[in-house]
Amino acid sequence: MLRIDCPWCGTRDEVEFSFGGESHLTRPTLDASDAVWSDYLFNKDNPKGIHFERWMHRFGCGRWFNVARDTLTHEIHAVYEMGAAKPDLAVKDPDS
């Protein structure tokens, strides 16, 4: 049960949000090869550590935004708007 800091509404409980999977994906154009297209469709990152993902404040403002979440500890390192660049997070490897 995460606590997520919606950039518009403030900190709310996870139950108010919907998860939208990995963020910062670039949608290939029609002339992309089958390999590039299937990579976009099916291959998602599943890191042990920081994951950049999108969430939507479903029972709130209805806005999508990005979250940098540690998949091991569930710590949320950053919340930032859709379209913004990945934040530079100096987080040490959880295994080290």
Partner: protein, 987 residues
Amino acid sequence: MTPSPTNRLTSGGRIDRTQPLSFRFNGKPLQGYSGDTIASALLANGIGTVNRSFKYHRPRGVMSAGVEETNALLTVSGGNGDIPVVRTTVRALVDGQLIKSPSGFPNVNFDLGRVLDFTHRFWAAGFYNKLFKWPSWRWYEGTVRRMAGLGKLPDGEDGNKYFHHNVHCDVLIVGAGPAGLAAALGCANSGARVLLVEQDHELGGSLLADGAQINAIDSDTWLSRTTSTLEDAANVTVMTSSTVSGYYDHNVLTITDRSTTGVVRFWKVRAKEVLLATGAFEQPLVFENNDRPGVMLANAAMTYVLRYAVKPAHVMVVATNNDTAYRVAFALHDNGVRVPAIVDSRENIAEEVSKEAGERGIPIMAGSVVLDTVGTKALTRVSVGRLSNDGRSTVDPTSVIACQGLAMSGGFNPNCSLYSQAGGSLRYDAQLACFVPDEEKACRQRVTVAGAANGKFSLADALTEGARAGSTVTGEAGFACSPAEVATSALGSYHLKAMRITPTGDTSRQWVDFAHDVTVADIELAVRENFVSVEHLKRYTTVGMAVDQGKTSNLNALTLLAELTDRSVEEVGTTTFRPPFMPVPMGAIAGPQHGDFYAPARLLPAHDWHVDHGAVFENYGPWKRPEYYATNGRDRETAIREEVLALRRSAGLFDGSPLGKIEITGPDAGEFLNRIYVNNALTLKPGRVRYGIMLSENGIVIDDGVFARLADDCYLVSTTTANADHITAWLEQWHQCEWPDLNLVISTVTSQWAVATLAGPNARTLLQEIESDIDFSVQALPHMTLTTGTFLGMHARVQRVSFSGEMSFEISVPALDGRQVMETLMNSGGDRITLIGIEALTILRTEKGYLHVGGDTDGMTNALDIGFGGIVARKKTDFVGKRSLLRGGDQRKDRRQFVGVEPLNDNEELESGAHFITSQREGRRSQGVVTSACFSPTLNRVIGLGLLEGGFARKGETVTVFDDGRTFDVRITDPTFYDPGGEKMNA
């Protein structure tokens, strides 16, 4: 007059002798007192055997005085029926309660099932995988399941009430034993919001049966003073009879609160800091027949004597590997229980305990272990042997001691379930021979462990550590707080010898897990068969998997596994703790969300009007919609058939209000929809309507419906009823995440509009009789157009779209006017209009060959499979899913394609779900499915729709259908059975 309890002390304890309670055990009337648990009342009445064991049906008595109970899990009357698997060691006795032993045939004292015990060699671990191979497991299953049950679930409605609550706090203290209380005392008046949660109905934990001195006063007085201090502190909330059962991310914990009779409250707590003072579980000793009634944990014996004023037996031997059991022996002795011996596996006993034993005249048998016990329904004697010098065997002679009970202590194991759930690591402490929180490894949650849960088993250490931890976590939460002053003179020595398992004897009679009847021999067998990983051992032998989740068996099983595989316990490791720590009733998780409150029902704007017209409602997603109208007492079949025919003959009125309606407004609305729809949205002129489909990015059809252009910068998108919310969210995601530069707004208007659909050859004539400024003529309002105007004085949108295949007008008015439109049309039309339910509409659209996304398509159906190849080829620009349609696999000619089917024999019953199968010669495999089927009243024969491999090229072909054992032939046709030219629809 019920007989007076035989094992009850005349004074002492925390029971109220002025409030006697009557109850029955297996029909026998007995008496207890307010303050008793069911188990303490049974013991007070000298009841030895309370249940039979799970597998061998051995007689079993009360084993503990807490949640770790493995034996006294009984059926108790309450609510609207008998509740099985009640932990009677923690459940308060209630006047008039009926207690039953769930197993034992014909009864618990004489159980024919005991034959399993006498033939136990056949039933070792995994027996069902080996013994019941012939003829098949199914042959035995019924009998095994009947014998293995833990009781029967009540049949009736659950009599309890369930509620959900949420709470935030700065400090959550779990457990109100010495450590938890010392911590809470320090936090009182610190200003922090403190929640102290205790699963017992009284605060105190081990102090409820202790008798030590704290701060120079006796512990009972200290406890009552502390309790009132905490209750008076405005910032401290005390919850009793409440069990913290789950620890989730970001410090969310769940509590099952049973403090009100007949009510279970399920709390979700969000805590800044959590302090776990969850105590420890005493571990049993393992020797032959260590499961007989009368054998119990030592601290349980102390609890029964001091808290409940009950002698567990009149003569009790104490067996131990540490100092704590001496206090138990003294308490038993001081309250009139004769203790003939303390059997201690240690050679050297500390003087501080041996001296006191000497003063009471209790003999100590040092360097000795219990070998075996005798007695069927109650203990009669135990045999004791002296350990050899290397401790791996015993030396003669064996002594036999007559007794009625045995109190055993194998030392303590911290209760680390919640800490482990929080992600905390445990380490094996060889000196304490148990698992303790590993302070070296950081836990991802804001959690601290104190007291016995942290391996501080003496009262003095638990109090000190609790007080210190309380002040630390309060400080972490941002509040100033100094540790409470707590000191005790109580005996604090432990001196554990890491030995719980008697090295000799028949291992198939030495129990490790009482609840699941797992013996040392079972563990040996598992190791012989190479189940040497702790996870494999657990699953193969089921050790620790019973309702108690191994609270008294896991540690002994791990120790044995380590010994048998020549590894250290550290190397063997432990299994993972998962929520819940204690079972949570399903009702508590559901809370009030059941029955009518399970999900809010959505009603049509004209719901009551439909009720008055005989509508029979069915749930379609959240909506209650008329399935058919039982007018004039018609049955379902007749009603549906007559509705279909009436619409085709004259006119039908259908309430289409739940249809999803989304408005897309803005200069880029057209561009946006052009990227969403397979169809071209930009070429659509204002006032025109187009049928479109939407695909997932993988090319799969996810929704269909019409979209209309209301103005240059405004579109109205219709979605299927069930998908309305989902499609809105999906459109938002594309707009916000992929194309935020497009200037538009998406708004759902589904419930703003009521929709009355009038369809049939007389539809236009009927509308023209109504007061309106709208020109309904075919020239002004042809099929697939939209207009707005005034209808009955209301603002209305009228759309020419058809799902039935007849001339059709969809009249949308503000939702509140929905009833008036339906009513006026019906009154004006009289016999010429018939109300149409969903079932009739389903037949009408099947006749017309219109597909239903999700019914006639599945998760593999792409745009090309339903005949959209031409439209896809003509549209040059990108849209969601287009790239996927370019893949070779998406364009194969043998994909499952949308077709019509009709049985060769008109009377054949065709059902959706039936498979098209290949011939015997080709190996009888499925080549598709029938997705819709019905008897068409219009055509007077059976028709259907389906998905068939290479279906487009197979029209006219005869294919065999397999349906639930039947096979018959059908002809593949075009999906459109009715009015293929569309003259009626375009009229």
